[in-house]
């Protein structure tokens, strides 16, 4: 059992830097589209790792099921809204950043 617990801890410790990098990406990237990448991709992977870590350390199975449900929901919601925001930005004729 301790092995699972430690594995979970490692997963969580892997997940946190993803969140931090997502935020740094949000602050540092030049335009809206790149920030969308940073935000949705990094944070979802980070949340995936955290959920995996917590699932490994969870005692009952229904906690694991709820964790997975929440993760899938966040995945669906953030990718869909990222798509909508990007499309709205395109319609607003915001030019993607190019290294010129």
């Amino acid at each position: 059992m301790a092995f699972l617990h430690n594995l979970g801890t490692i997963c969580i410790l892997i997940g946190i830097p993803f969140f931090v990098s997502g935020t740094i990406g949000l602050l540092r990237f030049p335009d809206i589209y790149t920030r969308l990448h940073a935000l949705t991709k990094a944070d979802n992977v980070g949340l995936g790792f955290v959920v995996l870590g917590l699932a490994l350390q969870a005692e009952q199975w229904n906690t694991v099921a709820r964790l997975l449900l929440i993760w899938l929901l966040v995945l669906v919601a953030s990718s869909a809204s990222c798509h909508l925001v990007a499309r709205a930005a395109l319609r607003k004729k915001i030019q993607p950043w190019s290294r010129s």
Binding site: L13, G22, G46, L69, I70, A77, S81, C82, A88
Partner: protein, 87 residues
């Protein structure tokens, strides 16, 4: 309250606070809205960590509602506020 969960929660909260700068600086409206979505995912992560740390299962329900409502705010922004002429 294991050190792991509390330090992780602390890092995520500082990520949220850092995200605030993007709201304040964000040139376009979409940037501000992005940061609000960042709060959604980071908030869910904090709640899940606290629910394990404090051994308090209710927080998972709150995390579920968090995820739903962050999505709602982002969709409301994308469609209604930012000239959602075409869906």
């Amino acid at each position: 309250m294991n050190w792991l969960y509390s330090t992780a929660a602390l890092c995520l909260l500082s990520a949220i606070v850092a995200g605030l700068l993007r709201i304040l600086r964000g040139p376009t409206a979409a940037d501000s809205m992005l940061a609000a979505q960042l709060f959604g995912t980071c908030g869910v992560a904090i709640l899940l960590l606290l629910s394990k740390g404090l051994d308090w299962l209710v927080l998972q329900d709150i995390a579920l509602v968090f995820a739903l409502l962050a999505a709602l705010a982002a969709v409301a922004f994308a469609l209604r506020t930012w000239g959602g002429t075409e869906r």
